[in-house]
Structure formats: C-alpha cells, structure tokens
Amino acid sequence: MNHWAEWLLGRLDWSALPFWDAIVDPTTKNIVNAIIASGAGAMVILGGLIAIGVLTWTRRWRWLWSEWLTSPDHKKIGIMFIVIALVMLARAVIEAVFMRLQQAVGLGGGFLTAEHFGQLFTTHGTIMVFFMAMPFLTGIINYVMPLQIGTRDLSFPVMNSVSLGLTAAGAALVMVSLILAPFSTGGWSGYPSFTESAANPGAGVDYWIWAVTLSTLSSTLTGINFAVTIYKKRAPGMSWFRLPLFTWTALCTAILMIFGMPPLTVATALLALDRYLDFHFFTADLGGNMMNYVNLFWAFGHPEVYILILPAFGIFSEIFSTFSGKKLYGYGALVIATMAIAVLSFTVWLHHFFTMGQSAHINAIFGIATMLIGIPTGVKVYDWMLTMFRGRIRFAVPMIYAVGFIILFAIGGLTGIILAVPSVDYQIHNSLFLVAHFHNMLIPGLLFGMLGGTNFWFPKAFGFRLEERWGRRAALCWIVGFMLAFFPLYALGVLGMPRRSAAFFEPAYLPWTLAAAVGALIILLAMLLLLIQLWVSIRDRDTNRVPAGDPWDGRSLEWSVSAPPPEYNFPVIPEVHSRDAYMRQKENGRGAHPRPDEYTDIVMPANSAMGPIMAATGFLIAFGLTWYEWWLVAAAGIVSLIALVARGYVRQRTRTIPAQTVRREHEAWLERVSRIRPVSRREEQTPANQGLAMSPLEGAIQ
C-alpha cells in the first residue's frame, strides 16, 4: 500500500501543502504566512474552477478547442500569449506588493518568514521575466509582425502553437507550486551551490528548473519562427530597408532568442544533472565549481534583458512617429543602432559578476564594452526626440507612456552606466541600487512599451478603441507610482542595503522603505485604473468602434486592413513601394483602400492539436520530474514522442478559402468603409473616429 503510494506520488506528501508549516510549528508568524500562502493557493484553485464553470455553463468547450487552442492563426496565438502574460502578471504584482510591504515593516523582522520572502522574490522575478515579459512581447510580435510585413501567417504556424503550449505548461507549473509548495528560494538567477541538492534538497529548485526550461524551449522555437518569417515571408517589394522599425526590433529580438537561450538551457540542464544524477558541475566537492554556472547564466541573462527591451523600442518607434504625425527621424541610424545593441549584448555578460574576483583587466574590458551600448541606445533616444521635434504631438495614451518612458529610461540608463564601472559596482552590486536600476529599465522600458503597444494596437485586434480618460489616469499613476516606488531604492542601495533582504536593522533605511511602499500602492492603484479602463472600454465598445481599421492615421501595413483583420489578413498580398508603406498609399492617388483587380484562393494552415498535446505532456513531464514520479515522466514522454512521429504522417495540413468568399467579405467591408466619414486628428478621440483618417496632411494640421 505504502509502497504503491510512493511509486505513484514520488516524494509528494502532506508537507507539500502550503499550510503544513503552521500545523507542525504553529508560531504566529508561521500561521500568518500559512494564511497568505493558502489564500494564494485557494485563488489559483478558485480561478481554475471559475474558468471551468463558465466554460461549461456557456457550453464553450468545443469553441475553445477549435477556435482557440488548436488554432494556428498567429493573431489568436498572439492574443493567447498575452492572456498568459496577464494572468501571470496578476500574481507577480501581488507578490511585488507583498515584498514592498514586508520591507516597509522589515526593520528587525516584518510579518513574512524568511523562507516565504525567498519564494516571493524568486517567483516574482521568474514570472516577470519568463512568464510575463516573454509571453507579452512574444504575443505582440506574433500579432503585429506578420501584418506589418504583409503576410498571412508565420513560417511555421503549428510550431508557433507548440511554443505557446510550452510557455503555458511552464506557467502552469509555477502556478501549481502555489498549491503543492514550495517554490525555489534561489532567486531568478538560481545560483548554485545554494540550488544544489546538498543545500536545497526539496522540490522547489526542481520546479524552477523545469519551468524555466519549458520557457526557454518555447522561446528558442519562437525565435526561429520569427526570424524565418521575417527572412522569407515579406510582401513583394518589402526590402530590408523598408521594414517598419518594430519588425526590425522583432528580428533582432528573434536573433537574440536563437543565440541567447542556449546558455540558459545548458546551465539549467547541467544543474539538473547535478541534482538528479549526482553529477558534479557546480558542487563544491569532486572538482565542480559554481563559477561555471554564473558565467553561463549571464551569457544568457544579459542578452535576455535586451530581448525584453528591444520590442519595446520598436513599439515606441511606431508610437513616436505616428502620434507626432511625422516620419521617423533617422530610420537608418535606428536600424544600425538596433543591430549594434543586439550584437554588443553578447559581449558584456561579465558585468553581472564584477565582484567574483577575476582580474581588474577583465573587469575593466567588460565594463567598457557595457558602456559602449550606451552609444547606440543614446542614438535611439535622441532619434525619438528628433522625431517629435517639428511634429504635431498628440497626447493619446500610448504617447503618454512613450514620453514617460523616454525620460525615466534615460535615468535608468544613467544608473546602468554607474553599475558598469567595476570599481563603483564593488560598492553597489547586489544592493537595492541594482534592483532600482533594473526596475527602472523594465517598468518604464518594457512594461510601458507593452502597455503603450496594447493601447496602440488594441483597436486593431478587437475593433474598438480603449477608453481615453481612464487610460490617461492609469498612465499618470504608473509614472508617479513608479518613481515613488523605485527611486527610494537607489538611496537604499547606496546606503548598502542588500537585495533579497527579508529584514534589516538600520533605522536609516526606514523612511525610504516606507516611501517605496506608498509607491507600490500607487502602482497597484494604476493597475486598478487599467482594469477600469478595460471595463469601461468594453462597456462602451459600440461607440468606439473603428471598423475601417486606421484610428491613428497609421503608417505601416497593419493599418490598411479591417479591424479586426480577417483571418487571412490580406485579401490580396500588397505590393510595397517604399518605407511607411501604408502612409505612402494614402498619400498617393489610388486611395487608402484600392479595390483589388482579382481575388485568388487562399491557402491557410489547418488546425492542429500539437500545441495542446505538447502543453499537456510538457507539463506532466516537468511535474513528474519535480516530484520524482517517474512513471508519469515515462508515460508523458512516450505520448509526446508518438505525437511528434505521428504528426509526420498527417497530410491534411492546409485549408483553402475560395476566392469567392474572400471577394464577398472584402467587398462588403469596402462598401462599409465607403460610408464612413474620414476624420481629422482633432476628432481622434471622439466617436466620430471610425478608423478612417483624413488625407494625411489635411488631417494632421489643424
């Protein structure tokens, strides 16, 4: 009996329940923590149940399966990526607020146990990077990039769905760790030998390893997919130097994914070998050493932070030129700078471990290489400023994020440069100064980028604009909240407060941690305002519809199709004659929506269950490995292998949409558009804006 249970459950037992500590050792602190942890676990279960309930109630299972889960459509996959990102974000944000509250009362202790705090910063960092930022940017690129280059889908649509599945599996694994605890306490960087089984025998680190591994596999596949698509599927005439800037950054991001992910795969794989098969890569004894891990991790980690920021740069480039009603300043320089950043990002990883003891020459050389990145980044910043210069700047929500970004990002860059000087880094490494630096890049950079991008492209994806006033309030709260939450951390850092501290003992820190907590609460408020914005927008969707598809007087091809776009994106693949292809089309004689001469049958990829299958088996393999349930690993492994082989035998891989249908749909839309009144930019935020822009020059000038 017992034997069977062991075989079945591996090392999973009662102690995995989040409230177990409080039962074994009911101190006040343990009870408080158990309540918090169980509450979180209960939320996950509740959320799952509600989702299942709603689906069953509304009889949407079949719809979910055939319209979404098995769909190879890049637009739907993009949206699903973003949904994952938002769900995970909700958790990571709550964790962030808990950490700030803990440190606000952390003088001498606080209310969280050290163990719990360790799990908080680890899951927060891991989720934010791998399960919030990566899916978010992957989702946006997925949605927008094919539309921008004038194609109907990615090169490998089913692989795209598998990427989604792997990310979903990793995210699910992290969520399950709330119910069957604990997660790792080793930070998002997971340094051994702390994460070796000698110091951390439990399941926590294994959760982390497999969640991260699933995410890296997903990102590698995504990178390949994006790169091949941009190389091979551009519309006729879309030469390299006509690509919209966002697509350029997507390409560089893809390249960074392809070459930046392997070091992490190696690092986590070797760590897993150490933990599971008693290898000795990073252990202290028998010839191992953990410096190898540190080196490998950051050989990934640094390119990773540029994976996170480059798409945001691309989004801001589109926003600046669109809302300044002006051509992008220095297109060529922006492209070169993007590529320079991508290549340079492979040459600086050592700056994350200046204090490990290598020679001063090595430190200095990597420090200087790091500073070099400041040059192309600076060029970008100034190019954006010059794009606004002599423009007509409209303060739509995306633009507020963009302006907030440019100022705050410059400050974060400055602190990055400070960290890049090794002799100064010896003082502030691993302090809250570092934490302030990277949040200063990640929130105004990445997160504002994603938020700006969402406000920008939302009408394209869903057919109606997001509400403006609540959006503005949210954006302002974001900017203020960010400054209040993170600028104090710079001060705490130079005062020597270590990162990852559950408690501190310097009264001098207290005012700053209190201020930061207030900031975090304002951010929470901003988050609330975002939800209100979303709700109000959905409520008023009928007044804010933009069926003609071009609410902002856009410049690139995605604005030339209806909102939301048809599943085949373009009834006829457009021909491109210049940069800012759609703007050119609008300025030229043939008008914004020329009637195509002829329609042809369109071949689209057919649905495939590979994505969900890989998601399920990936999750089960990872779960089994985490808890030592070997039968589960073997079973799920065999199923996924069979699925892969079987997929090779499938021949029904495409589906044809007859020219007739395409014609009917497109002509109906053109008909509808012809009845819409074009608006000038003054009316941009009014219900009059139905997505048809007045001829550019008239419309932009008042």
Partner: protein, 339 residues
C-alpha cells in the same frame, strides 16, 4: 597611492558638492557610517569620488534628454503653432552630434573606468605608510555568520572584525557553505566568497569607530541576519584585544567547529552556547549595535584552520595547545577588555 587619478578640477568640485549633498540627505539621521558616502577608508573615499564623477560625466548626455524632452513635447504639441515638417527625417549635423557626443563621453568614461578599476582591484595591496606590515585576516563565511581568523596572532572571532586604524588590511576569504558576498560599505569594496576557493580583498580604515559589515549574496533563511561589526581601534587597543582574546577566548575545537558548520545565525549560536553552558564571551552589553550580534572570541584554534576549510580537510585538532582546552570554554568574558 590608493586614490585614483583625479581628472578635471570642475568635475571634482561638482562631485564634492554632490556627494556632500547626498551624504547629508541619505545618512543624516544615522550616526554610524553605514555607507561609502560617509567613507572611512581610502577605498571607499575613492569610490565616492568615482561615483560622483561618473554621474557628472554621464549627465552631459542624459540631462539634455531630461530637459529637452518636456520642451519639445510642449512646444510641438498638437494645437501649438510651431513649425510642422512631417517629411523631415534626417539631418547630417544632428546625426554627427548624437553619435559623436555620446561616443566622446564614453571614451572619457572608459578611461576613468579603466584607471579606477585597476587602482581599486581588490587583490591589489594597499600601500599604507611603508613601515606598517598589513594585518592579515582570514575570513570564512558560514551559514549565517562570519569567522575571522588572525593567523599571525593565533586568535579568531565570530561576527566581529577588530582591526587597527591606519594599517592596511589583507583579507583572504573563503566560504564553508554556499557563495556569499563579504562587504563593509564604509571601508570599501565587496568581494564574493566561495567554497574551496580563496579570494582576496585589501582595505584600510582611516578612522576609529564601528562600521557594519554584511553578506550581499542571498544564502537562505538567515541571510539578513548574517551581519558583523567592524571595530576599528587604535594600535594599543588592538594589542589589548589580541592579548585578552589569546588568554581568555574560547577554544575552537571539533565540537565548536560543528556548531559553526551548522545552520544558525551568530545570535542563535551564542544563545545555544549559553544554554549548553559552554559559556559565551559575548560582550557584556550583548547588544552591539542595537541587536544581538552574536559575537564570539576564540583564543585557541587549530593551526592552518583556514586552509583546511578551503581544502575540505579535517582540521588538525591535535595542534590546539592541550593545556588550555579544558578550561577555556567556560572562561567567561568578564575579563575581556572592551576598547
């Protein structure tokens, strides 16, 4: 010389002002020097200087962004009557400036970084006034406390580093556990300590006083409690400290070593010693700097303990002088001098 070369005079004045302002702002309410903004040694002083200098230099290219962006945004807002050039997308002059100026700034920054990094290499000995030999201390990071071995004095302490002012310090460091980061902000650089490896750190203190030290690299539950006090004293007090510890300190024998290897903070270790009636020689006031620092002092320890820890070899317990083994562990701390 331990100060890195000073560059422009103006930048220097600027950073003095800036650093002064920052230190008042940041450390105003704390008497103990907890940060390099209130430096107590040449390394930290140089770092404060460099900190200001880097900010000043980088501001040359960052301030324009902070100032010009709001100006552009207001001036060219929709509805203002300023010039509108929708097709303007390139200017040679502007491009030269936005590539050139940052490039020049980076060249200067790189020079500064190169020189300061070589000057402040933690492995590089500090030349004090030539007469004094550096004081050698061997540091071992345990979960979650620090052991300081004075190889030339034959004594050791836990969570308390006592050093004379104006004498260079040569630290050799290792970890008996996972990776940790050894750091005394007021004196200078931090350095990682790792199992089976020996890193080096050179510091010097200019003033007497008590400065907090800490671990910067997360290593589990006790992480934020892994703190120690650096007591910088005058030469005479240091001699007394050495003498008293040598006589009255406890013995670091195999049992004690096991206690050190176990996962506990200095405080719980000291408490458990008191409970076990081994006797701790914690200072009378117990609370060093507002909390139980968990300090211990050892007068007797095996030879070459540090290298045995590094090499994962069992220490040579037999080398501890036999006479003192028995009695030392219950010797109370009362006789110990507190400078």
């Amino acid at each position: 010389m331990s100060h890195p070369p000073v560059t422009a005079q103006t930048a220097c004045r600027y950073r003095a002002f800036l650093a002064g302002l920052l230190s008042i702002l940041l450390t105003g309410c704390s008497q103990t020097p907890i940060s390099f903004l209130d430096p107590q040694g040449p390394v930290a002083t140089a770092q404060r200087h460099q900190f200001g200098l880097i900010i000043a230099l980088t501001s040359i290219v960052v301030l324009p962004v902070l100032i010009l962006t709001p100006w552009i945004v207001i001036r060219y807002r929709y509805g203002a009557q300023s010039a509108y050039r929708p097709r303007w997308g390139f200017s040679k002059l502007a491009d030269i400036a936005i590539w050139g100026i940052p490039f020049l700034v980076v060249v200067v920054l790189a020079t500064v970084a190169w020189r300061s990094t070589l000057a402040l290499d933690p492995y590089r000995p500090i030349q004090g006034d030539q007469k004094t030999e550096p004081l050698r201390v061997q540091v071992v990071g345990f979960d979650w406390k620090w052991l300081f071995i004075y190889p030339d004095q034959g004594i050791a302490t836990v969570n308390e580093l006592v050093v004379p002012a104006h004498r260079p310090l040569a630290l050799e460091l290792t970890s008996a556990s996972v990776m940790q980061g050894f750091f005394i902000p007021a004196l200078g650089s931090q350095i990682d300590v790792m199992n089976r490896m020996v890193t080096q750190l050179h510091l010097e203190a200019d003033h007497t006083g008590e400065f907090p030290g800490k671990n910067m690299q997360y290593n589990g539950k006790g992480f934020s409690h892994q703190r120690f006090v650096t007591r910088v004293v005058d030469e005479q007090t240091f001699h007394n400290f050495v003498a008293h510890t040598g006589e009255g300190g406890m013995t670091l024998d195999a049992r004690m070593f096991d206690r050190l290897m176990a996962q506990n903070t200095g405080k719980t270790l000291a408490q458990s010693l008191a409970r076990a009636d081994v006797g701790s020689n914690n200072d009378g006031d117990g609370k060093g700097r507002g909390d139980d620092a968990g300090r211990l002092r050892f007068g007797h320890l095996p030879d070459d303990l540090f290298n045995d820890i590094v090499g994962h070899v069992s220490p040579d317990w037999a080398s501890i002088p036999v006479a003192s083994t028995g009695k030392a562990n219950d010797a109370s701390s009362s006789q110990e001098a507190r400078p």
